[in-house]
């Protein structure tokens, strides 16, 4: 449905004399993946890894520096391709902050109807669409339609945001931490609603979150990002059961168990992610990776070739038999015992 190829976004840092460009934040650096029709692709990673920049690039909310986007066979924003207007009719986004993404001076009904009106729908019809959608997201239109955003709770506002995103009848929704700001009991309500809407409207989701449990629950496939790059991508069960990349393994073992008897005594990783302004050479995870060798600093690991929806790929030299890493080609479990991920070097 959506093919992303070599997408890049470097934010310039200016300073010094004449405000020259002194460096850049490599927020998204050469990212390629596909989103399949009707699936939910989960994107996980720590803060600053470029998840949200990626979402904004997909929506064309910020211009990209390099790379191409193909939506349903048509290039986006190029000659004879899909125009931005058409793209945004087909692809919509829900943001984390439910309040700041609604116009505080419009009743929510009008906020939802705004998009269709801009795209040429008669006023009365747009209003009807808005009311239907409110019903669909579980808010009674006669009760909530004329309210203003400040009169709604966080969960209700996020439902309105989902309705607003659906008003143009899009085929794809990008959910950028859409449930992260909600309380657990409300988060569960909205997640159930999202699953229902996906079935009902035949939607494709790109679900961005830092909550690994939520991503596991809602996704069909998962993409793991680290410092602006894709480190691992694959079907959800395969990734959660047999993670290949040392970063993914560490991330998963940082999940907190709900069992008080199962307490972690040793953190799987030390230190924080390095600065994306000057990412480490070669593999970007090597500064925190306990299994890093010389080859990891020398060259960047390739992620391999994507074949079909069951492909499980990781950008790690240990996955590539010809890389020269001493653990290359070994069975994944032997390569990375979970307790060995303790003594990593600090940046």
């Amino acid at each position: 449905m959506l093919t992303v190829n070599g997408l890049k976004k470097h934010f310039p840092i200016r300073g010094g004399l004449f405000n020259r460009r002194t460096g850049s934040v490599r927020a998204v650096d050469d990212v390629s993946f596909v989103v399949l029709k009707g699936e939910t692709l989960g994107i996980v990673g720590e803060s600053g890894c470029g998840k949200s920049t990626l979402a904004r690039l997909l929506m064309h909310l910020i211009p990209k520096d390099a790379g191409e986007l193909v939506f349903d066979g048509e290039g986006v924003d190029e000659a004879r391709g899909l125009t931005l207007r058409e793209l945004r009719r087909n692809m919509q986004m829900v943001f984390q902050d439910s309040y700041s993404s609604l116009n505080p001076r419009l009743p929510v009904e009008d906020s939802i109807a705004y998009g269709p009106k801009v795209h040429g729908m008669p006023r009365a019809e747009a209003k009807k669409v808005a009311r239907d959608l409110l019903e669909k997201v579980g808010l009674k239109p006669e009760l909530f339609g004329s309210r203003y955003p400040h009169e709604l709770s966080g969960g209700q506002k996020q439902r309105v945001n989902v309705a607003r995103a659906l008003a143009l009848n899009p085929r794809m929704l990008i959910l950028d931490e859409a449930v992260s700001a909600l309380d657990k009991s409300i988060e569960a309500q909205v997640l159930n609603q999202l699953r229902y809407l996906k079935r009902h409207f035949n939607l494709t989701y790109v679900f961005i979150s830092h909550d690994l449990n939520v991503v596991q629950y809602i996704s069909d496939r998962v993409l793991v990002m680290y410092l602006g790059q894709v480190v691992e991508i694959g079907p959800v069960d395969s990734i959660y059961a047999r993670a290949k990349h040392p970063y993914t393994k560490a991330l998963f073992s940082s999940r907190l168990s709900m069992d008080p008897d199962d307490r972690v005594d040793e953190a799987p990783l030390t230190g924080d992610p390095p600065n994306p302004i000057n990412p480490p050479s070669g593999c970007r995870f090597r500064t925190r990776c306990p299994l890093a060798e010389d080859v990891c600093a020398a060259k960047m690991p390739a992620i391999g070739t994507w074949i079909d929806r069951s492909s499980h790929l990781a950008a790690c030299h240990m996955e590539d038999a010809s890389s020269g890493h001493s653990r290359a080609g070994r069975a994944p479990d032997a390569a990375m015992p979970s307790h060995a991920i303790a003594a990593a070097v600090n940046p």
Partner: protein, 351 residues
């Protein structure tokens, strides 16, 4: 005389009486009064905490958990917040302390760490100066001695290359290091009570676990009591001895962490556990949810605040606020239906 002897003899038989609780909060109420409305943020919270214990207060946003913490530290705005009830920490009656006494108590007896270290640290002073300032203020030593102590403290909280970090400004540090620096300030005068208000919520998963392990280790080393506020049941499972679940400004359930998380006895705790997604949850089934929304704190429903969302509720629940009842010693629940709860989730799915 004989009578006295027998009593003292009997006293020798029984195990030594438990030490006086470090914290005693009785019937704490906090109301925020403004011209438009009165928000009843905390509605009669009572608990006790032994020295060296870790108490986790769990609750959703607006449940009054942070307000309770701030009340303990007397950080609430004086004009707007109307307090009731009593609070005692160590030998201090918190509500009757003068401003001068407060500055003594804060830092040396009670310390607090916050969710967002960037706003809690002063951006124009180096981390070393900020730690040293606290030490100098409370121990009256020289600035140099304070800086030496700051270096020690940064080593205690496991900041890598502490000499360099001493001279760093808060914005030069990563989120994890900032939170460690804040813990260093909080611990600089060896408080007997540390209040931690969601200290790991803003951190990434791989950093959160590091800070949790550090806090647990320091708590044991310093032997201090910790009240840890969180909305994350996983965090509570990692760090707590005791757990208090708050809803609409009241503690609805209290007990050992294991008991509360594996055998909840309040419908709200049950529902919260069921609606929290855990690893390995079946993708084919819907998540169990608590219907409805948390109550409006300006207009609390009569009786049990959870009754409008509760599947077990009947008329008796809305008649009066259910009292805290001890099911077994040390285990409290505020639910008149506690005996009739059926499990919302099978035992196997809890872990």
């Amino acid at each position: 005389m004989t009578l006295q002897l027998t009593t003292s003899g009997a006293d020798l038989q029984v195990p030594p009486a438990p030490p006086r609780p470090l914290v005693e909060v009785k019937d704490l109420t906090v109301k925020f009064v403004s011209r438009e409305a009165t928000v009843q943020a905390v509605n009669g919270v009572s608990f006790e905490m032994a020295p060296g214990e870790v108490l986790c207060i769990i609750g959703e946003s607006g449940s009054g958990k942070s307000v309770t913490m701030r009340a303990l530290m007397r950080l609430l705005p004086k004009r707007r917040a109307v307090l009731g009830g009593s609070m005692r920490v160590a030998d201090y009656d918190i509500r009757s302390l003068s401003e001068r006494q407060l500055t003594e108590v804060r830092g040396s007896t009670i310390s607090m760490i916050f969710q967002e270290p960037m706003t809690a640290l002063d951006p124009v002073y180096t981390v070393g100066d900020q730690i040293a300032e606290t030490v100098v203020r409370h121990e009256g030593c020289s600035h140099n001695a304070g800086v030496a102590r700051a270096l020690e403290l940064l080593q205690v909280v496991k900041v890598p290359s502490p000499e360099r970090r001493l001279k760093a400004y808060p914005h030069e540090l990563s989120g994890g290091l900032r939170q460690r620096a804040m813990i260093a300030i909080a611990l600089s005068c060896r408080p007997s009570l540390l209040l931690a208000d969601e200290p790991t919520t803003a951190l990434d998963a791989t950093v959160q676990i590091q800070v949790l392990i550090l806090l647990r280790k320091l708590q044991k080393e310093f032997g201090m009591g910790v009240i840890f506020v969180t909305h994350d049941l996983g965090v509570a499972a990692q760090i707590a001895d005791k757990v208090a679940v708050m809803y609409a400004g009241r503690i609805v359930e209290y007990g050992n962490v294991r008991d509360v998380l594996t055998r909840p006895r309040h419908p709200y705790t049950l529902g919260m556990l069921a609606s929290t997604i855990h690893g390995g949850q079946s993708r084919d089934t819907e998540i169990e949810t608590i219907p409805g929304n948390p109550p409006d704190m300006r207009r609390l429903p009569p009786g049990c605040s959870f009754a409008p969302r509760c599947r077990y509720a009947d008329q008796a629940c809305t008649a009066a606020v259910p009292p805290a009842t001890a099911i077994v010693p040390g285990r409290l629940t505020c639910c008149i239906k506690a005996g009739h709860l059926t499990r919302a989730v099978p035992q196997s799915e809890i872990a």
